[in-house]
């Protein structure tokens, strides 16, 4: 790589990192609001049954797994193992899609629909996260489409790296939400 190309890559990496640190604050804000509402809500929240608890857990496991496959896929393209990359990236998209499908379901069918204010913040958090998952999930799909036409190699894989990094952001944001919404 030339000096300019290296600098451009360094800039992109710094930008994505700074963006991740910055934008996570929106999710922190929603968590603060959620905790505040839960602390002041006057009526008891409904208890979660096995399905209400198990399905989001399944989605969480899927999104964590998608992070692992994205990481391995990026490592594969760095080694110029294009076939390995394609397989792992397909798996990443499948796992991410499963997560998203489940969370869309949770948005429409959850035990808090009749829980007033808490139900509202619950849906805002699920929906807000799902919008991010959709937008960045589309990036993952676009990378796959690009990769099919041979766009990425061990020398040029920024699209893959950026997609993976942004997807890690979605994962971290969800884990924060999951802890607050289901474990606390």
């Amino acid at each position: 790589m030339t000096r300019e190309e290296l600098l451009a890559l360094k800039n992109k990496r710094t930008l994505v990192t700074a963006f991740q640190i910055s934008w996570i604050m929106v999710f922190v804000c929603l968590i603060v609001v959620c905790l505040q509402i839960r602390g002041t809500v006057s009526t008891a929240l409904p208890a979660l049954n096995a399905v209400d608890f198990g399905v989001p857990l399944l989605a969480t496991l899927a999104i964590i797994a998608s992070g692992v496959t994205a990481w391995k896929a990026e490592a594969a393209i760095r080694r110029d193992d294009r076939a390995g990359f394609m397989n792992l990236w397909r798996l990443t998209i499948a796992l991410s899609g499963s997560f998203l499908a489940i969370m869309i379901g949770v948005f429409f069918f959850n035990p808090y629909l009749e829980s007033g204010l808490y139900g509202q913040i619950f849906r805002v958090m699920i929906g807000y996260h799902a919008i991010h998952a959709m937008a960045i999930g589309w990036w993952l799909v676009q990378v796959y489409l690009n990769a099919r036409s041979g766009m990425y190699s061990a020398r040029a894989y920024w699209g893959v790296e950026a997609g993976a990094r942004l997807w890690y952001f979605v994962i971290v944001a969800w884990l924060m939400f999951y802890v607050v919404l289901y474990l606390m």
């Binding site: 710094t14 700074a18 910055s22 929106v26 929603l30």
Partner: protein, 573 residues
């Protein structure tokens, strides 16, 4: 003495680098054009925001309703005045300075992400227009703080929703700009330039950008909920349905107190540059000033609840009082360092320097009144009175706006290639300085006497002071037109500045005025100590620079003469 009759290098390059007005009206990825676009756009909004407050002061000339028909109209006026001044004048104006100067000061060809830079700018005009168009849909009337239930249940017009969406967009623009600054400063410094060799303006922008990227998304979260309350029937801030109005106040001030530093820290940076250059003195306590910017950025996140002393749980008052007072320490470090900088210097009372000194004196008053309102007992007395209005105008006008003026007079020669008219500059300064003082200082008294803010009708005993304030405000408003006139007049007067008219050591002056497309001819060589005035090395550096780039004002002259006496500079370097 030698007489040069050929076109001067500085003059020649100026003609080559000159841009047409149309270049500034279209999409461009050149940071210099974007910087000017930011500045000019902000100035337009400054005039709009200023016109709005002239109406406010007109109304307040007498205790009764004169100009507006009711309180709602008055609420709309001050709401839009504050919002425009904060989000469409001060913040983007400093972004304009940053855009123009940061790559030049670092020796870079452009910002790290030029396209993103242009996008960040072009989000501002539509957002500003959207906000103003709210006038036709029931203008926002809940103050710039937009406290519910005023901004929800008691603001039926769609203008309030348009306001919230516009703030959302402006916040996004601000974040994109700040991310770009952070990447540029981290990665694109000239070869060998360490963090502690950067000009202090760069430190100011860096600290500001760190605050923006951490605080603004928090407001985005809160605004999303506020908009949902208004349009989707949620009730996060509606007490009647279990919502909590104080929740908004916490979320809002967690952003908006740091936003005060967003609005003033670039001004600190400008002041460091101006005071040092125009007193020919090295900065006193460079590292202290640089690191205190980071300290303010950090501490700025620990003080938000001092805006809520009257509504906060009493047990939280003391901790927030302490953090609010502690933040005066890094600010004080800066002020004493600036005084140390000009102490014993060869002070040139240029327009830029006058505004710099104006900042120093007026900001100190704002800082002291800030410590006063940080004290809970005093704050409980003056909360929501004109004392608070006075305090933040001493910070935001006495600080930020005077710093902007200082910066414009200082860098106008670099941006346009022409000197600003000094005589007009000084007239502008003295009228502004005096009118500013008499506009805002009496508000301290009004506040302590108990006059509440945000009222159109007030007790008759406050009329005398209000009349002084209003008349001074009109003069202050008019003084702005001297500045605007000077901006245009100096362009036509064409007093060529040359590359480095102030003989400054930072890199933006080590190139033509205005700079060429990629900023420098070849790789720029930076001077190790950007404030090392008075040293032999500095003198030699400036001499070399002059040989390479040509002479500067006052050694250059009007283009029609194009002949100049090139005597050795007797600048005191």
């Amino acid at each position: 003495m030698a007489t040069v009759t050929a076109p001067l290098p500085g003059v020649q390059s100026h003609e080559e680098n000159k841009l047409r007005i149309s270049d500034y009206l279209k999409w461009s990825v050149d940071h210099k054009i974007i910087g000017v676009q930011y500045m000019v756009t902000s100035l337009i909004f400054f005039v709009i925001g200023g016109a709005l407050v002239m109406l406010v002061r007109w109304e307040l000339l007498t205790p009764a309703l004169d100009l507006v028909q009711d309180g709602t109209q008055f609420n709309q006026l001050f709401t839009m005045h504050a919002t425009v001044m904060i989000f469409l004048w001060i913040i983007p104006m400093f972004a304009g300075f940053g855009n123009y100067l940061i790559p030049l000061m670092l020796g870079a060809k452009d910002m790290a992400f030029p396209w993103l830079n242009a996008l960040a700018f072009w989000m501002i005009p539509p957002a500003g227009i959207l906000m103003l168009l709210g006038y036709f849909a029931g203008q926002a009337e809940a103050g710039w703080t937009s406290y519910p239930p005023l901004s929800t249940l008691f603001s039926p017009g769609d203008g309030q929703t348009m306001w919230a969406i516009a703030i959302h967009v402006l916040g996004l623009s601000s974040i994109l700009g700040a991310l770009n600054f952070i990447v540029t400063i981290r990665n694109m410094r000239a070869e060998g330039m360490g963090y502690f060799q950067m000009p202090l303006f760069v430190w100011g922008i860096l600290a500001t950008s760190l605050i923006i990227v951490m605080a603004t998304p928090f407001l985005a979260g809160g605004l999303t909920l506020l908009i949902l309350d208004r349009v989707a029937g949620t009730a996060f801030f509606n007490p009647a349905q279990g919502g909590d109005v104080l929740l908004w106040q916490n979320v809002f001030w967690f952003y908006s107190h740091p936003a005060v530093y967003i609005m003033v820290m670039p001004g600190f940076g400008i002041l460091s540059e101006v005071l040092s250059a125009h007193s020919r003195k090295s900065i006193f306590g460079y590292r202290a000033i640089a690191l205190s910017s980071l300290a303010i950025a950090l501490l700025g996140f620990t003080v938000w609840a001092h805006h809520m002393f009257t509504s906060l749980m009493p047990s939280l008052r003391i901790p927030f009082m302490l953090t609010s007072m502690i933040i005066a320490v890094p600010t004080g470090i800066k002020i004493f360092s600036w005084i140390g900088t000009i102490w014993g210097g060869k002070i040139r009372l240029t327009s830029a320097m006058l505004f710099g000194l104006g900042f120093l004196s007026m900001f100190v008053i704002g800082g002291i009144s800030g410590v006063m309102v940080a004290a809970v007992p005093f704050d409980l007395h003056v909360h929501d009175t004109y004392f608070v209005v006075s305090h933040f105008h001493f910070v935001l006008y006495g600080g930020s706006v005077l710093a902007i003026y200082a910066g414009v007079y200082h860098w106008y020669p670099k941006i346009t290639g022409y000197m600003m008219d000094e005589r007009l500059g000084k007239i502008h300064f003295w009228i502004t300085y005096i009118a500013f003082f008499f506009t805002f200082f009496p508000m301290h008294m009004l506040g302590m006497l108990g006059m509440p803010r945000r009222v159109a009708v007030y007790a008759p005993e406050f009329q005398s002071l209000n009349a002084i304030v209003s008349i001074s405000a009109f003069v202050l408003g008019l003084s702005t037109f001297i500045f605007l006139y000077n901006l245009v007049y100096s362009l036509y007067k064409k007093r060529i500045a040359g590359p480095n008219p102030w003989r400054v050591l930072t890199l933006e002056w080590a190139t033509d005025s205005p700079p060429p497309a990629h900023n420098f001819h070849g790789d720029p060589v930076f001077f190790k100590n950007p404030y090392g005035f008075g040293t032999e090395a500095a003198y030699r550096y400036l001499e070399e620079q002059e040989k390479e780039l040509g002479p500067s004002y006052p050694y250059t002259m009007e283009p029609e003469k194009r002949s100049v006496v090139t005597a050795p500079a007797s600048t005191g370097d």
